[in-house]
Each structure stands twice: as structure tokens, then as C-alpha cells.
């Protein structure tokens, strides 16, 4: 739009593109607030999302650090990990719940974080929408696939 109008002015004015009657376009800030800005959605979603980030963060510190410790440090470290090790751990409901909680919390925590990043940085509504759709699809797919594997894991599979 700006190139179009400046070209039109240029043909009239010759040397200087802009003068008092034809000022240059100013740079508008992204998504500026006007009187027409829609009023609130009146839901508590943003508050719950904010709270979830704090609470899941605390739980994830325990879950992830514990996970890393068991997988990489204790009892032989990373070299012990194999199909048999995973099968042995998932035989116990405790580790199933641990891994399930870690999967869900980490995925939702990360997805919500990325959602706020997209909200902060995507300028056009279309970009915003499609980035979020991509994010939600990836999240749902990963969470469902992971849950399926944890619940239907068969140690005797060949």
C-alpha cells in the first residue's frame, strides 16, 4: 500500500516524493488499541492458563529432575537404558503414572508457553490462527500417541 501511494505521489511531485500536502505514511504499531477493540471475553481462561504454568512448573521440576537422575545418573547411567529397562519400569503402575504425568504436564506447559509466544509475536490474525492450529495439532498428536504407548505397552512384542 505504501509503495503504491508513494509511486503515485512521485509522478506528481517529481524530485521530492513527499511534501506538506502529501506526507509520507507513518509507521503504525502492530495491532494498536482503538475504540473498536472488542471488549473482554469474560472467561477465566487466561487466569487458569497462568496458574497452570506456575503449578505445572513446580511439579515438572520434581518429575523431570527425578527422571533425568534415574535415566542418566543412577545405577550405571545412560548405558543401562534399553528395551528391557523400559519394559521393567513400565511394569510398575508408579512409573506409568510418573511418565504419564510428565508427558501431559510437559506438553501442555510447553504448548501454553508457545501459545503466549505466538500471541506476543504474530502480528497478523491469519498467521496467529494457523500457527496456533499447527501447535494444537502437534500437541494433541504427541499427547495422545504417548498416552497410547504408555497404556498399551506390551513387553512381549517382537
Amino acid at each position: 500500500m505504501s509503495t503504491e501511494s508513494s509511486a503515485a505521489i512521485g509522478s506528481v511531485e517529481g524530485v521530492s516524493l513527499y511534501d506538506v500536502d502529501h506526507p509520507a505514511p507513518v509507521i503504525e504499531p502492530p495491532r494498536k488499541r482503538t475504540g473498536k477493540t472488542p471488549k473482554g471475553s469474560r472467561t477465566n481462561f487466561e487466569m487458569y492458563a497462568w496458574l497452570f504454568m506456575r503449578l505445572s512448573g513446580i511439579v515438572l521440576v520434581v518429575l523431570v529432575l527425578g527422571h533425568l537422575l534415574i535415566q542418566l545418573v543412577l545405577d550405571g547411567g545412560v548405558s543401562k537404558i534399553g528395551f528391557a529397562f523400559v519394559a521393567g519400569r513400565w511394569a510398575s503402575p508408579f512409573w506409568q503414572v510418573w511418565d504419564l504425568a510428565m508427558l501431559w504436564l510437559a506438553m501442555l506447559h510447553g504448548a501454553n508457553g508457545l501459545r503466549t509466544v505466538i500471541n506476543d509475536y504474530a502480528e497478523r490474525d491469519n498467521t496467529r490462527f494457523w500457527l496456533k492450529m499447527l501447535l494444537y495439532t502437534a500437541t494433541v498428536f504427541t499427547v495422545l500417541l504417548g498416552t497410547l504407548v504408555i497404556f498399551t505397552f506390551d513387553p512381549n512384542i517382537r
Binding site: 509520507a24 507513518v26 488499541r33 477493540t37 473482554g40 506476543d120
Partner: protein, 252 residues
């Protein structure tokens, strides 16, 4: 004509406090060019003077087209917030000696708002956010026949946020606001806080509901840019966190 008085003046000027300062000002004039550019001005000024005095010196003595806002020039009206050496400040409260005058002093318009000319920005989105939080006393019932009294403790509760002069230094230092103007911004939240925690006001619930929105307090990332920028020393981030806490404790 060499009166003793003139001699004294000459002796004083020999020990001149004046130093030479380079002002590097970001100029934009849509009637000349669509691009902003930095322009240097060399001026001789007492380092105990303020940046606003330096700007006046340039405007009055060197280049009358330099455009900026100022009204009271004493830190009350909030007209002359600008980005000085990369930090939002009031030009009328910043002394030259405090901002390393041996190096060029960069002065530009505050960010996140449309630059109209040189240091003048369109404040309308900022004031729209201010209006949207209803910054006025809301009460129910009949008007009392005398003042609405309040205890000193109740007044103290929101004392910090009454100091706001709406200069936009905080809002235009907020990275969330730079990227998305739909965010209310610190200044609007501070002015909502001023009424939410006022014991005489009865519209707190409405304001909390407005700030509970997608573009309300939950978009604050607590980067503390606003607290750093506030020329009145308001603890802006703390005020925003207090609104968040009020929203959470209201629900649970």
C-alpha cells in the same frame, strides 16, 4: 563601559561550567521523507542543566523544526517522555551530567506508538487503554451529603499508584506492548489499581473483570521494564502483580 559588574561577569565566564555535548536525535518528518534518521547537534551547555534545556537550546538557537512535546517542564505533566540513551525518561527530569555527556546522547521517540514527527507520537492508543479501565470513581446508591471519608491506612493502600502522570514511559518500555498494542499496558493497569484498591470505590469487580481478559494482566511477563522506566518511581510491576493476586484470591 567596563563597569565592575561586567568585569565580574567576564571573570565568571572564564571559569565556565559549560561543556560541549553531542545530541544525537532521531528525526522524522513525513513531509520530507518516509524514513527517520539520526541527526547530531553540538551544543554548549551546563552539565547541571536538563536534557529538556538542551532540546530547547537546539530548537531556539539551531533548528526550529525540531519537534517535541513539553508543557510544565517540571516533571508533573508527563508530556516529554522520550527514549534517552535507550531508556525511557522524562527529558525535564534527566540531568545532562547523569547520562555520560562525554559520549553522544541519543534521543528518540518512545517506542510502540506511531511517530508523527521527530519526538512526537500518537498517544491515542495509550489513552484508549486508559479509558477502557474506567479510571473514575464508581459508586452505588445515593450521593452522600459530605465527603467520602477514608482512613489513612485505606488511603495508603493505593498511594503508590496515585502518582501516575500518564507520561507513557512505562507502557512504551514494555516489550509485550511493542509487539501487541492490544495489551492494556502498565499505565492502564496502574490506573485501574488506583481505583480497585480504593475503599470508596465500588467498581473494582468490573475493572478486575476487564483486566482478567486476554489482553489484561495475564500478558505481563514481569520484565520490570516499566518499574525501571517510571519517572515517578511507582512500583509498576508490583501493582500489576497485586491485581493478579486480587483476581486469583477473588476466585478461590
Amino acid at each position: 563601559m567596563a563597569t565592575p559588574i561586567l568585569d565580574k561577569v567576564e571573570a565568571d565566564s572564564a571559569a565556565s561550567p559549560y561543556i560541549t555535548v553531542t545530541l544525537r536525535i532521531r528525526r522524522f518528518n513525513p513531509e520530507v521523507s518516509d524514513e527517520a534518521q539520526w541527526q547530531d547537534f553540538q551544543i554548549s551547555i551546563d552539565p547541571k542543566e536538563r536534557v529538556l534545556d538542551a532540546l530547547h537550546k537546539v530548537k531556539w538557537e539551531t533548528d526550529g523544526t525540531l519537534t517535541f512535546r513539553r508543557s510544565c517542564a517540571h516533571g508533573i505533566c508527563g508530556s516529554d517522555a522520550m527514549r534517552i540513551n535507550g531508556k525511557n525518561r522524562l527529558a525535564c527530569k534527566t540531568l545532562i551530567k547523569d547520562i555520560s555527556p562525554e559520549k553522544p546522547i541519543t534521543i528518540e521517540a518512545i517506542k510502540g506508538l506511531t511517530v508523527l514527527k521527530d519526538l512526537v507520537v500518537d498517544m491515542e492508543p495509550f489513552f484508549q487503554a486508559y479509558r477502557d479501565v474506567m479510571p473514575f470513581l464508581i459508586t452505588k446508591g445515593n450521593e452522600p451529603t459530605r465527603e467520602r471519608l477514608q482512613s489513612a491506612e485505606d488511603r495508603e493502600r493505593f498511594d503508590d499508584t496515585t502518582k501516575c502522570i500518564l507520561c507513557a514511559a512505562c507502557t512504551s518500555s514494555c516489550p509485550v506492548f511493542w509487539n501487541d498494542g492490544q495489551y492494556f499496558g502498565p499505565a492502564a493497569i496502574v490506573n485501574a489499581h488506583r481505583f480497585i484498591f480504593d475503599s470508596r470505590d465500588e467498581g473494582g469487580e468490573q475493572r478486575l473483570e476487564i483486566l482478567n481478559d486476554r489482553d489484561g494482566v495475564w500478558r505481563c511477563r514481569t520484565t520490570f521494564n516499566c518499574t525501571d522506566a517510571c519517572p515517578r518511581g511507582i512500583e509498576v510491576t508490583k501493582a500489576i502483580q497485586e491485581v493478579k493476586r486480587a483476581l486469583i484470591t477473588r476466585r478461590f
